[in-house]
Subunit: 514 residues, 2 copies
Amino acid sequence: MPLNGVGRDVPDRIPGYGDARPFSADGIAETPLREAPETESGAETRGRSVAKVVPLERSLDLLDLRDGMTISFHHHLRDGDLVVSMVLDALARRGLRGLTLAPTALFPVHESILAHVRAGVVAGIQGSVNGPVGRAASDGLFDGPVVLRSHGGRARAAASGELPVDVAFIAAPTADPEGNLSGLSGPSACGSLGYAHTDARYARQVVALTDTLVPYPLPRASIDQSCVDLVVPVERLGIPERIVSGTLAVTKDPLRLLIAERTARVLDACGVIAPGMSFQAGAGGISLAATAAVRERMRERKIRGSFASGGITGDLVAMHEEGLFDALLDVQSFDTEAVRSLSRNPGHREMSAAMYACPSSRGCVVDRLDAAILGATQVDVDFNVNVNTESDGVLLHGIGGHMDTAAGAGVTVIVTPLLRGRLPMVVDRVLTVTTPGSTVDVIVTERGVAVNPARADLAEALRKARLPLRDIGDLRDDAYALTGEPEAPRFGDRIIGVVEYRDGTVIDVIRNVV
Amino acid sequence: MPLNGVGRDVPDRIPGYGDARPFSADGIAETPLREAPETESGAETRGRSVAKVVPLERSLDLLDLRDGMTISFHHHLRDGDLVVSMVLDALARRGLRGLTLAPTALFPVHESILAHVRAGVVAGIQGSVNGPVGRAASDGLFDGPVVLRSHGGRARAAASGELPVDVAFIAAPTADPEGNLSGLSGPSACGSLGYAHTDARYARQVVALTDTLVPYPLPRASIDQSCVDLVVPVERLGIPERIVSGTLAVTKDPLRLLIAERTARVLDACGVIAPGMSFQAGAGGISLAATAAVRERMRERKIRGSFASGGITGDLVAMHEEGLFDALLDVQSFDTEAVRSLSRNPGHREMSAAMYACPSSRGCVVDRLDAAILGATQVDVDFNVNVNTESDGVLLHGIGGHMDTAAGAGVTVIVTPLLRGRLPMVVDRVLTVTTPGSTVDVIVTERGVAVNPARADLAEALRKARLPLRDIGDLRDDAYALTGEPEAPRFGDRIIGVVEYRDGTVIDVIRNVV
């Protein structure tokens, strides 16, 4: 069996997926121009004087709905989302079967999907999975593989027609009767609707669900009426306290704080903390603490940066408001402060998934990043990163923007403790390659900092700054010395997950756990 | 030869145009799903680390440019535009030939195009013409017909692939180095970039030209970087005083003021001037005066309207700021006050041509209009309106949003004096049907008000309000009594213009003048 560009066994043809174009480390593959998606609606409303505002059941009468179709959802309501369940329940009542779900991400609340899989209503998932649904996939629940895509890769697939969405169901915290949509207000306010833009643009039929219908015209809309077929008022879109966090928790663990502080030193040594800097970090505890450490340095030296991007948090809002970043480019507002800021601050701008990270767009924001701080569930001695499967081999996480940001940023830093519980985080070979080592520059642990050999320039800078450089193999050895070599999970023969690189090539496959 | 739905001779096949689908008065034609446009760029920059900011000549090196291609421009710089000339001159220096221009509109400044037509650089025009270029078309300068489309029809044709744009050259009053674009600031500020959105979205290659390059990222952009291939800095985009007017001139002519006041009475009698009203009027002298008369009534009765749309003027801004309209939906900012308001007023929103008027979109703003006040160069006894050709048969004007707004608005009022100079404006049969009579409700002249017989409801309301109702035939007779029956222009055999209805059917053809 041929090995792809990161040395993984990827069959030429994958049952339930089709032909796999192998990932190549040589660069981004061209997206083949398949039949481009229709830009016209298939719903019964176009060109007729049917009012767009209809109850959910009536909307399903008006849509072209068939067994086997692909339906999509965005994840801005996160673990507070009630829309996926509501829609699937309604489709199930109509007897639809064999649907493919294309969510931009899933959360624990979406465990309700599993019953619909067992009943045959849902046949597969393209886009992202989460804990319970991922675990079920690893157990072999789905007939074919789930197809995992990054945020940028999903936008690319939607634009190219590789992911043809028949109906996009868009949770809209505020909507007017023509389908101008906003996430800024209403009880389910979530801020940016960045991930929904792609679906609104490319889906054959677009249905907005809202619990806050306001008079026409909504003056500030993220998605405009020309994309929306139907507007469905519902009692509740979501559970507010599970949609946005109050304040995200910075880690208090001394070991993680050490990693965070060290990460700021790494960025400083690489010359990133400088006027005009651009920056992205995740919302994990270490990343938040590293952002705080970067902030201290920017303040001390009165550095005015250019922008912070990605998921926006209250701490980035504070940095923007104190003049440390001129702009915030927001694909997803993580907390209540970020939601408020998007309304209030002219320099805080919503962006689509395509603008954020799509590799076939004409230029995406990740390509402008000086630095990205990213997490991992495993890294290996080739600097490959796994964010999908846990050490037991179970598929528990989606990709998010991980591989997009790593590919784009000038310096990509992976932050991870050497161990989590009794499991090594630096390993010989990751169970799943999510992000190729060729796009990863530095790994920061409490036991030392490893630099990708391809980046001799950075190694030299970090050495001068007296950072504790270690060979990545030594970090692995340290980890194994403490835990023993990890036992390989027992995988079966079935491919239950396909990890697409952002260009649509297959970077890895995930097999069932037995 | 068959007659179409407004009784016009339209051949099945038009040389230089192809098969003509005849206009039908029965409703909007479905847009056939031709091969959808590519969403990927053809420029040499995608997926490579070529900086987007390049001089004009270098941009032409990077583009896929060939003889016979279609290139597009927007008209937000109006009569101050220097971009069309600059680009055509550069393309001519490269020896390109047979180009089709697809401007959203043209102005007298664009007379410079004619030399390029004579030299073979430009072969045809799809979209709009103006005085000098239109006159040259009527004289038979072009080999094939120019194709005239409304703003909504052009957006539809671009979306469906009927108007495949190879390169869109977008004048951007402000741009950042990745191609985030805004019309709000810079010496060539023009406010809304509404007509450019369609081209940015569908063109195979997109080049922004700017005289104001600002640091990345531009926080408030009308068009985002994911659509833009190249950014070309130039010394001057336009001549500011010819881009936006200072204050548009309301008519002082007593006869026109009478028509304006009467128009407000008509709208009042039709029940339009009421809470929640929506309204669009042109920027002609009578329309501006009619808007002022509507404003007085709204003020007196403390009426709070919903929105005004289309081209936005300072008087509409004032109405918005005094609370008479909750929102302004702006596809084109006509004067400096409108440009400033778009920056300042959250209720003043930019909209794309598609959102404004596209009949194949999922819902456009014109369909929400309670009333539209529109001008004419001729109307006839069937209520058909001509805005394209003058009484001498010469093609002098584009369509703008005329047929879109008439089709969408609840009440469409045409305002016109009975005579202009010694020419009758109400005639037996318009020389060119731009807007079908089936979408026109009322014609207001100084000699009386004619109501379309299909709107008995309106006639009854106007009668009750003691408006001077006249039969349209009587208005024509009055006009002819004063001027004599107008002499028909002498047309040749060649079809020099095709007037597409907003759905892509052919509503009329225009022949050369001999």
